[in-house]
Subunit: 435 residues, 2 copies
């Protein structure tokens, strides 16, 4: 199958909102570990995909999936040990008090269920999110994702906070007390929501601020915000789809970095290394309120194959020491990126931790004028031509996002930095220039 | 692992809304074709599960899944042939005009996306559903599922039609023109919605009326209703999660039975024989409206493994002649159930077609007083003790639902009928008796 023909067939058969990445779409046919191969046999280092968390086509994941599928794949209306073991293993990694789990298929379903539960439990409809947030594709989670639709359509129950970007936000790293300054701005947004007659049901918090960054926020800000939300009757829902599963280095969950204790935790993408499995963890009283009100059933959620795969992912993370790798290789990667930044002033800022870093690309280091989207696309294509797959993020799409599978090794970090170095050497931004 | 211990662990770790079926929950550990085995080695004929559409643990499905998982599992932002081939094969089975597809993970996500698209395209929020309908577990699809929550909480944009049950509805089979009488009642409900200031975005229609039955409606009613919806500016969304994939005999989709042409078609459960894969098919102009308005991405939707599994399901249906089997074995099953009804007056009515039948259980054939829920539970347990797994449905929970995998053979139908016969021989309803 030629790539051009396949592209034409795809454009005919699939919805136009099924978009693809890169100018010349990648036609990937095989994966292994941190490597992907296209139809022409070209090899790419994967610096973008967090979903194949333990590496592409990991043999233990494939074996777990195949073995269970050959045996049984039903649903949670019968007893099965797989889902119970999975629930116990993940609950053991969560703070005391979060003792109850529900399994679904996607992060969108997880966040949708979390918002439903938070609203039922508090009796309050208000949801607090960040300006660049993406929390899912269902009608409700999409409404809670201000990055995805025109600001004029924001529902009145939504409070939108400015993401805590200390490099280019309203509060900067060298402010005397950035955490408190950020908190004052957040409090004003909460006040505005309440002034509209809305009560706060929950804060929906991605501790990596993935689609804004990643960002690293002041700890006192995050703790202060959670206290404010609680004082106003709201729950803390941590969306760990991005930040969880050792993505941010030496802890299983992103919220642990900030020393906060959520009421509800959702996770998705990395849980099944590509298999559609996701979950919601919560206090039992929150789950009981839901059970008293309505039926909830998820046909595929936590089925025996999904549970086998998700258990195998935890096995691999444990046996291959991937939490430690995320911290160590992540620190090595960051140091190498900082060295790169010293040679390339277009890298305005680097934020991130563990195996999740963002390079904020600027046309001018003084004004911090961001790269435009066309330049970022061109840069991404150049880096891909150098054999490395990256992504973009950030309010202006100006952040080069580096978020490889957790099996990424220091040698892979070297390769990635060298490729970005070569791409930047031949690159100059075109947008924003005087004609 | 003892079943009792496992149950206790499950109750501790899982949310109480993850309910199980049967008084003594079944602890199923293995499946093959139409058979399930519990932890004690007891064997059950599966007369309930439509999700393992081509039979439990079908070796071709397992092989397709394993082979693809060992090769690659990414997402739709890169080109991959599997999803394109899958889209083409399913679009070829749909009416002209429905030429565009989107892949998601669950029927809930499919219906949620369909409702979002219908609302965007028509600019109208109103949704028309049936009283017993279940269309999903997201906030939006749950609101469109009146079976799942208290009637007082129905949103004002929802019009709820009475399901066309010609045995126990307001319009009966022996009315002079049941289709027209049903239509008049539906029109009144649409008028009431519009009188509330709501415009109709779509009808969300399950052509099996699964959670009300299954039911068989008059063709002129369904056609007339669709014409009414269109005349008022609404789209026809067929939810084929239950009725599609040859469930209703000699056609791929349930709506074909009624000679209607939908604008959007959703499917889920049977598509992946247990693997979480689902889809939305639509007219291109509807997809284009969505693409112009917003981003839509579904991380796991249509990934290479999901596509491989869904393609294998179509292969098996074709190669094993399962559409024909659904029609033939379904007719054989129905005849045997009708013979059973002649001997058991508690079977008030039988509705269904293909491999989807419902027995409406009555305490009194004259008054049609339905079995209560406790009696239905007791009956289901008795039939399970006889080695056959069934389900319940219906407005009062009074319908014994028979909806086996599509590989169900005439011999299996005999076994099922014999088991129900034995259970009924020792059964008398307790509820509704004078004390």
């Amino acid at each position: 199958m030629k790539t051009g023909d396949l592209m034409a067939r795809r454009q005919r058969a699939l919805a136009p909102f099924h978009y693809h990445m890169f100018e010349r779409p990648l036609h990937i046919v095989r994966g292994e570990g941190v490597w992907l191969w296209d139809a022409d046999g070209r090899k790419y280092l994967d610096c973008y995909n967090n979903v194949p968390s333990v590496g592409h086509a990991h043999p233990r994941i494939v074996a777990a999936m195949s073995t269970q599928a050959a045996q049984l794949n039903t649903h949670t209306r019968y007893l099965h040990e797989g889902i119970v073991t999975l629930a116990e293993r993940l609950l053991a990694r969560l703070p005391d008090g979060i003792d109850t789990s529900a399994f679904v298929c996607t992060g969108s379903e997880a966040n949708d269920l979390a918002l439903q539960m938070a609203r039922l439990f508090t009796g309050a409809e208000g949801v607090v999110v960040y300006d660049g947030a993406y929390h899912g594709n269902t009608a409700l989670t999409l409404a809670a994702s201000p990055s995805e639709y025109p600001p004029a359509e924001r529902p009145e129950w939504l409070a939108v906070l400015e993401a805590p970007n200390l490099y280019r936000g309203a509060v900067l790293r060298d402010d005397p007390a950035p955490g408190q300054a950020l908190l004052a701005r957040a409090v004003a947004a909460l006040d505005a929501l309440e002034a509209r007659g809305q009560r706060i049901g929950c804060l929906l918090l991605d501790c990596a601020w993935d689609s804004n960054g990643p960002l690293l926020a002041p700890v006192d800000y995050v703790q202060g915000l959670c206290a404010e939300i609680r004082a106003r009757g709201g729950l803390i829902v941590c969306d760990e789809v991005q930040a969880g599963y050792c993505r941010m280095g030496a802890q299983w969950w992103g919220f642990q970095r900030y020393g906060i204790t959520p009421d509800i935790v959702t996770c998705g993408k990395p849980m099944g290394a590509g298999h559609p499995v996701a979950a919601v963890f919560m206090r039992r009283d929150i789950a009981e309120r839901m059970a008293a009100h309505q039926v909830y059933f998820n046909t595929f959620g936590g089925n025996p194959v999904s549970a086998a795969v998700a258990n195998a992912v935890i096995d691999v993370i444990e046996d291959e020491g991937l939490m430690d790798n995320s911290a160590r290789t992540g620190a090595y990667f960051l140091a190498a990126l900082q060295e790169l930044q010293a040679r390339h002033p277009v890298i305005g800022d680097i934020q991130g931790v563990g195996l999740f870093h963002g390079l904020d690309m600027v046309r001018d280091a003084g004004t911090k004028a961001p790269f435009g989207r066309a330049d970022m696309a061109r840069l991404g294509n150049l880096i891909a031509q150098e054999g490395v797959i990256t992504g973009t993020s950030g309010r202006h799409g100006q952040t080069l996002k580096l978020r490889p599978p957790l099996v990424f090794a220091p040698h892979d970090a070297d390769l990635a930095v060298q490729a970005i170095d070569r791409a930047l050497a031949s690159f100059s931004p075109q947008e924003g220039r005087r004609a």
